[in-house]
Every structure is written in C-alpha cells, then in structure tokens.
C-alpha cells in the first residue's frame, strides 16, 4: 500500500490535472464552435425560469378514435346496402356496439365491418377486435396494443407541436421532453411568467372550415349532422354549423398576423397547401352567397359569406382580434393542432433575482462549510489533516469535472449535496488517520503503521460508502425535479471522494514519508 510506482503517481496526478482542465469550460466561453465544451448547467431554481408539466388528455384521444370509427362504420354499412342499424359508442368499454335490424343481413354486415380493420395501415396487426354477442349485436373493440400505440403517437406528436409553439415565442434553450406515458416536461429558462406560453399550449388549435346550416333554428335541438357552436367574442350567440369538415387547418402552409388595409382591423392571413386550395376552391364555387364558418376548438371565430369563389389558396380571418390575439392565432396555426388537449399538472416558476439569491445563499453556505471542515481537520489531525484538506479541494474539482462531463444540472439541493459530500469525504481520511494512530499506539513503526492503517481502513471505506451510494441511487431513480440534482452530486461525490481520499491523500503521505523519513508520525 505504501509503494507508488512512477506510473501510478503520474496517473493519480494526471487524473487531478484532467479534472482541472475539464472544469475550465465552466469559466470561459468556448473559443471555437468545433471544440467540445461541456459545462454544468444551472437549474431553473438557480437561474430563474419556468417548469411546466403537461398531461396529454388520453380520454380525448380515445374518444376521437371511437367517434371516427363510428362514422366509418355507418358509412360502410350504408355502402353495403344495410339501412336499418344502430351504431353506438361505449366509451368505458372502448368499443362500438352495432345492432343490425335487417335480420338476414347480419353476416353481410359483419363482413363489411371487418374491412374497417383491413383499411388501417398494412403490415400492422389489426387494431380492432370483432365479436358477436348472444343477442346478435356486433362489438368492435379497440385492441389495447393499438390503443397504446395511438397514445404514444399522440404524445410524440404533441411534443413536436409543443416544441414548435414554444420555438415561435423565441424562448432560448427550452427543454421539451417526454415523461412517463402521457406527460411532457417543458422547461423555459429565463421565463419568469409562463402565462403566455401556458395560454399557447392550452389550446388544441384545431381549425376547421365548415358550412353552416341556415335553416336550423338555434333555440331548439340541433338536427343530425349539425352542431350549435358559440360565436367567439359574442357571448350567447350560437351558429348552426355542419359537422362535416370541408377543409382542415392541417392543410395550411402559413399564417401571419396582419392588418386589414381598409379598416385597420387585425386579421390573420393564411395560405392553403395544394390539397386545401383545391378543396376550398370547390366549396367556395358551390356555395357562393352562403356563409361558411371558421371553427377553432369548437368556437366559431368568424362566419363570413362567400362572395366569390376563392381559388388562389389564400384567405383572411377577421374577427374581434387584437394585435396579440392575432399573433397568437397565427402562431398556433403555423405550429399545427395538438392531437389532444394538454393540461398543466405542475407549474414552478422562479424569478431571476430569487435564483441569484439562492446562488448567493448556496455559495456562502458552501464557503463557510468548506472552511469549517478544513479547520477541523487541521486542528484534530495536523499534517495528515492538511493532506486530507488538499485532497478535499481536489475532490471538489473532480466533482465539478464529472458534473461538467455529464452536463449535469446544478440545482439548489445539488449545492447542498456538494456540501454534504465535502463533510462526508473526509470520513475516509478520518478512518485512515484514526487507524494509523491506533497502529502507532500498538507499537508499530511509522511506515508499518501507515501501511497497515491504509490496508485495514480500506474495506471499511468501501463498505460505508457503498451503502450511502445505494441510498442515493434510489433517490435518483425515484425522485423528481431538483432532488435528482441532489442525488447526482452526492453519488458523483462519493465516487470521487474515494479516489481523492485513498489515492491522492495516500500519495502525499508516501511522498512526505520518503522525503523526511520521520521516526515518529505526527498523529
């Protein structure tokens, strides 16, 4: 234990030097873009910013799938020449219930309905399970696997849309990531008030162009195939809108806020893609003189009368817009519609000055704690305590280096973790020093006492650090948010402290012994 080969000496010193180099990127800006420049990131609680946890509404995803499946089933049956049937959606059981009242067409109906499954993407397993009940009713159940795939696709698509919407607002370095099955984490550094972004993310923004039903009486019950939708900005007023979607917002290629050249009102100008242009031209040609409705999330934002066929693929939405709401709508339209509504289930935002306060408090605590531990070691362990102190400094540097390499996020609890690590890191040195002291008392020669002291203390050091390590790995696995930062700094600190206490401090002691050859150890 007391012999260090030249190679080993240089390796230990090399690791410390490498640690020092790896810390440097935290202090300087990268000199060139091609250089790998890994740094520790400050958590939102230290730099200020907002953290939002969004949940994708999966019941909506499922409901929409069932509704569209129901529509398809009705069309399919009609096409098969079956007229007397009832299709009902049973959302709780995730299935459709089809009752055929033409007694002899049961088999034909089932054959026709089976095509619904075949019509889905080829090469995949059918996502529908068909069954005939005792009373002759046909059930069409969504398979759990297919439902799961659909949910995963909905979350993935939501993340994409959220990213586009957040990017449009110009937030720098946002982090958008999936969490669990149906959640999305959005981190917005520097955003103290996330209200605007919450509003942007809170809208599904599904825009549809539909025809209206001018004959319907909006005070009664809506006729089949027609919805009574409220008019945006005019409370109480409802418009009879046909359910059939003529053109979807997904067919837009661009949307920009602008001002109407005649009256200066805020409007949103949009451009259709080729499919949308063609569809819109057809519809407008066939319905000149009639109103159509522009519907956004089940609200009619505008219902202008078609004066002439619109064939250029360009249009304008005018409503009761302000500059801000026109801009927001254009952002939403450009980014596309969410497949399902998002709910904010957790929000944490910290202003930059609170973050600065937290950094200051953490730095003071860190500084004072560091000094107290060093003084303690010097007072109670003398020279060997100073060796431990230098090792402690090296440990701090190595921790920073590893955290930089991992590009870890430093949070306020993470700073507490660093401080606790410093307190516990000297434990290894204390174990070694106490052991050496004991061996000296047992009458061993200095060299022998150091040798045996290190040897005996080593397995204890491993044992005691292993348990602390396990506890914090668990915290990392199950913890969330800033606490993970705590777990990361402590686990990293445990590993680096074993190195600095058993290798670096020992190297110092060996070199010191070799150069002074003392007859008595200063313990």
């Amino acid at each position: 234990m007391m012999y260090f080969s030249r190679l080993k000496t240089w390796t230990v010193l090399g690791v410390c030097l490498a640690g020092l180099l790896l810390c440097l990127p935290n202090l300087f800006a990268p000199p060139a873009n091609w250089m790998p420049w890994r740094t520790i990131h400050l958590g939102l609680d230290l730099r200020g910013g907002s953290y939002l946890l969004l949940e994708v509404d999966m019941t909506t995803v499922m409901k929409e799938r069932l509704d569209s499946l129901g529509d398809n089933a009705r069309q399919t049956l009609r096409r098969a020449g079956i007229t007397r049937f009832v299709v009902s959606v049973q959302q709780a059981q995730q299935r459709l219930l089809v009752r055929i009242n033409d007694g002899d067409k049961q088999a034909a109906a089932l054959t026709a309905l089976r095509e619904l499954a075949a019509a889905t993407v080829p090469g995949q397993r059918p996502d529908l399970i068909f069954d005939t009940q005792d009373d002759g009713q046909i059930t069409i159940t969504l398979s759990p696997v297919a439902l799961k795939e659909r949910a995963a696709a909905a979350v993935a698509q939501s993340i994409e849309i959220v990213r586009r919407r957040v990017d449009e607002t110009g937030v720098s370095e946002p982090i958008i990531a999936r969490q669990g099955d149906a959640r999305i984490i959005v981190q917005l550094p520097g955003i103290e008030d996330p209200n605007r972004i919450k509003e942007l993310l809170g809208k599904t923004a599904r825009m549809t162009f539909r025809l209206t039903d001018e004959t319907a009486n909006v005070t009664g019950a809506p006729p089949p195939g027609v919805d009574f939708l409220p008019m945006e900005g005019k409370s109480g007023q409802k418009i009879a809108v046909r359910r059939r979607v003529e053109v979807d917002g997904a067919n837009l290629t661009d949307a920009r806020a602008g001002q109407n050249s005649q009256n200066g009102d805020w409007v949103v100008n949009f451009t259709f893609d080729s499919l949308g242009t063609r569809r819109f031209a057809e519809i407008s040609r066939a319905n000149v003189g009639h109103p159509f409705a522009i519907v956004l999330d089940d609200k009619v934002i505008s219902a202008p009368v078609i004066r002439e066929p619109i064939t250029g693929g360009r249009g304008q939405i005018s409503g009761s817009f302000t500059a801000a709401s026109a801009t927001d709508l254009s952002v939403l339209l450009r980014a596309g519609a969410l497949p399902a509504p998002l709910t904010v289930v957790e929000e944490r935002s910290v202003g930059p000055e609170l973050g600065a306060d937290a950094i200051r408090a953490g730095a003071i605590a860190l500084g004072v704690g560091f000094v107290l531990v060093m003084v303690f070691m010097a007072v109670f362990y003398g020279l060997f305590g100073w060796f431990a102190n230098v090792a402690l400094l090296a440990n701090l540097i190595l921790m920073a280096a590893v955290l930089s390499l991992l590009e870890a996020t430093l949070t306020l609890p993470g700073m507490a973790g660093i401080l606790l690590t410093l307190g516990m890191a000297v434990d290894a040195n204390i174990l070694i020093n106490e052991r050496i002291r004991e061996e000296v008392r047992n009458g061993r020669s200095p060299l022998n006492a150091m040798e045996v002291g290190f040897q005996r203390a080593f397995s204890t050091i491993i044992d005691s650090n292993a348990t602390a390590f396990l506890a914090h790995v668990m915290l990392f696995a199950f913890g969330a948010g800033p606490v993970r930062g705590f777990a990361v700094t402590i686990t990293v600190g445990i590993v680096t402290s074993i190195f600095t206490a058993t290798m670096l401090a020992r190297l110092f002691m060996v070199r010191w012994y070799a150069s002074t050859r003392p007859s008595v150890l200063p313990v």
């Binding site: 949940e55 709910t343 904010v344 516990m424 204890t460």
Partner: protein, 323 residues
C-alpha cells in the same frame, strides 16, 4: 496546527462500558420513536406542496405590501387562501392556497391570483410560483416513499451480503428507529415534508448506515482477533476503538450542514436542520442502539467459535477480510 494535531477527540485507551447503558439507551430510543409515531398520526406532518398539492406564490409589491388589501382582492376573486403573510422585507409576501379538485382548476386559480394582485397593488411582481396538482402530488409522494423503502431494502441486502444476518437486522432496526425520530422531529418543528426532505432523510439513512458499518466492521475484526472475549466486552472495546472516527465524521458532517441551516435560505434550511438532527440521532444510535441489538441477537450465535469444541464451520463469525 500544521504538523501535530492540536487536540484529540477521544483520549487514547478509552475504556467505557456502553453496554451497561443498553437498556436505558433502548428504552429512551423506544419512547422517542413511539412518541414520534404518535406525532406522525396526530398532529401529523406538515406536508409540503410537493406532496399535498396546492399553490405557493411569492410576490414582491412595488411599495410596502398591504396585506389587508391583497386578502380582500383575493377573496374578491372567490379564492380561499390558506395564508397571506409577509416574509423577509416589507414588500415580500407569500400566498398559499389549497390544492384544487382538478389540475385545470389549479391553473385557473393561479391566473386569478395574478389578476387579484394586479388589482390590489398594480406593479406587483410574482417572483416564484409553485403549483402542483392533486394527481401529481400523489405520484410524487408515492415515488418519495418508494425511494425510502427501496433504499432501506438495498441497505439490508448489502449488509446481509457483507456481514452476518444479525448485523443486518441490527442495522435496519436501528435505521427504522432513526427515521421515525426524524419524522417526529419534522412533526414537532412543523418543517414542510417535501421531496427535498425525503432527500434529507435518505442522506440520514446513508450516513447512519455508514456509521453502523464502521462500528460493525470493527466488531467483526475483533471477533476474529479475540476469540474468547465475551461479546459484551468485545462490543464495548470496538465502540471505544472507533469512537474517535465516529465523533470525527459526525462533527465534519455537522460542520458542513450547519452553514446550510444558517445561511442556506428557506429551501435548504429545513433540509439542513433535519440533517443536523439526523446526525446527532444517527451517531448516538450507532453506540446505544445498534450495538445492544447486536448483543441481544448475537449473544449465543456470534460467539459460537469461542468454544472450539462446539464450533460449526458454516457459522464462523466472519469471513477473512481482504488484506
């Protein structure tokens, strides 16, 4: 200071009979832990926002805060607050609201608070918002408890592998006693129990185990060294031999946590006070709890190789350690 140590923590050749106080130690510990468990049920822990859900907003008013006006504006928005109070300086106010029934309702409330503040004292800035919905807080609580449970289990398994089962049982029973006391401490001090506090308790567990492992390690070594010494004396000897290290490490961790408690700010001071308490409990339990439990469990088993005639090879006290 630069060469020889100025002080010794523990005098050389200390010979103190800890095991004489084993009943007293266990009794005090049991009483404290039972009291803590009672405190856990009544009045219970003050759950932090992570686990209870709800809204906390810290705001800064442009001039001195008018608490009455803010309260009136909040109730004008139909909001029931749990507390509106000043903290720090005159213009800093903390507003706490209960968890709402649904996540969406929680978000509506956050917006309403902002509106109310703007009405009460225009120019008020919201410095911090924490809004945790009911379902998320339940999950966070479940995950926090899972982290606690799994780390206890992992530590049990680790000690089981490295030592005999008596050591493992002794360590885990002591840890449970330590953790209950820490929870009692939180119940008495009304510190918020949140995720950071779970971190503190886990650190206490890690630290306390660490402490026990060192003492146990020495006992194992001494079991091999002194084949005929009665277990009781052997435990006393082992504690005396490791006392310098036990106190030394406790003090350094204590010294590292103290500035956090004093200067760490609102988030960390609760964490640090809990740590400080845990260090004291963890250190004393290594001596007065973990060791006596081992004495009770191991009196007839761990010393079997003391009488060579009855020795069973499979249950020798310890495997040879690496040298």
């Amino acid at each position: 200071m630069f060469m020889r140590p100025m002080f010794r923590l523990v005098p050389d050749n200390l010979n103190f009979h800890y095991m004489r106080g084993r009943f007293l130690g266990l009794a005090v510990s049991a009483v404290l832990s039972i009291a803590s468990v009672c405190l856990f049920f009544y009045p219970g822990l003050s759950l932090g926002i992570d686990f209870k859900g709800g809204i906390i907003m810290e705001v800064k008013t442009p001039a001195a805060a008018d608490i009455g006006k803010i309260r009136a504006a909040l109730s004008g928005q139909g909001l029931r607050t749990e507390g509106v109070q000043r903290f720090g300086d005159d213009s800093s106010v903390a507003i706490r609201l209960e968890a709402q029934a649904t996540e969406a309702a929680t978000q509506v409330v956050v917006t309403k608070v902002r509106t109310a503040l703007e009405a009460a004292q225009p120019g008020t800035r919201v410095l911090r918002t924490d809004a945790v919905g009911a379902s998320v807080s339940n999950e966070l609580f479940r995950d926090g408890m899972a982290a606690l449970g799994f780390s206890l289990a992992m530590i049990l398994v680790y000690i089981w592998f490295r030592f005999e089962w008596q050591f493992a049982v002794g360590a885990v029973v002591t840890l449970i006693l330590d953790v209950t006391k820490a929870i009692g401490f939180l119940a008495v001090t009304r510190l918020d129990f949140d995720l950071v506090m779970v971190g503190a308790i886990l650190t206490i567990i890690g630290y306390s185990t660490n402490d026990k492992v060192v003492v146990y390690d020495r006992m194992r070594e001494n079991l091999r060294k002194y084949k005929t010494m009665p277990l009781r004396e052997l435990i006393d000897l082992s504690i005396n031999e490791t006392l310098g290290r036990t106190l030394g490490t406790s003090l350094t961790v204590f010294l590292a946590s103290l500035p956090l408690a004093l200067f760490g700010g609102s988030t960390l001071s609760g964490f640090a006070w809990c740590m400080l308490f845990g260090i004291v409990v963890g250190t004393s339990s290594s001596i007065f709890i973990a060791a006596p439990i081992l004495l009770f469990l191991g009196e007839h088993r761990l010393r079997r190789d003391a009488q060579p005639a009855k020795a069973e090879p499979g249950v020798s006290a310890a495997e040879p350690k690496g040298s």
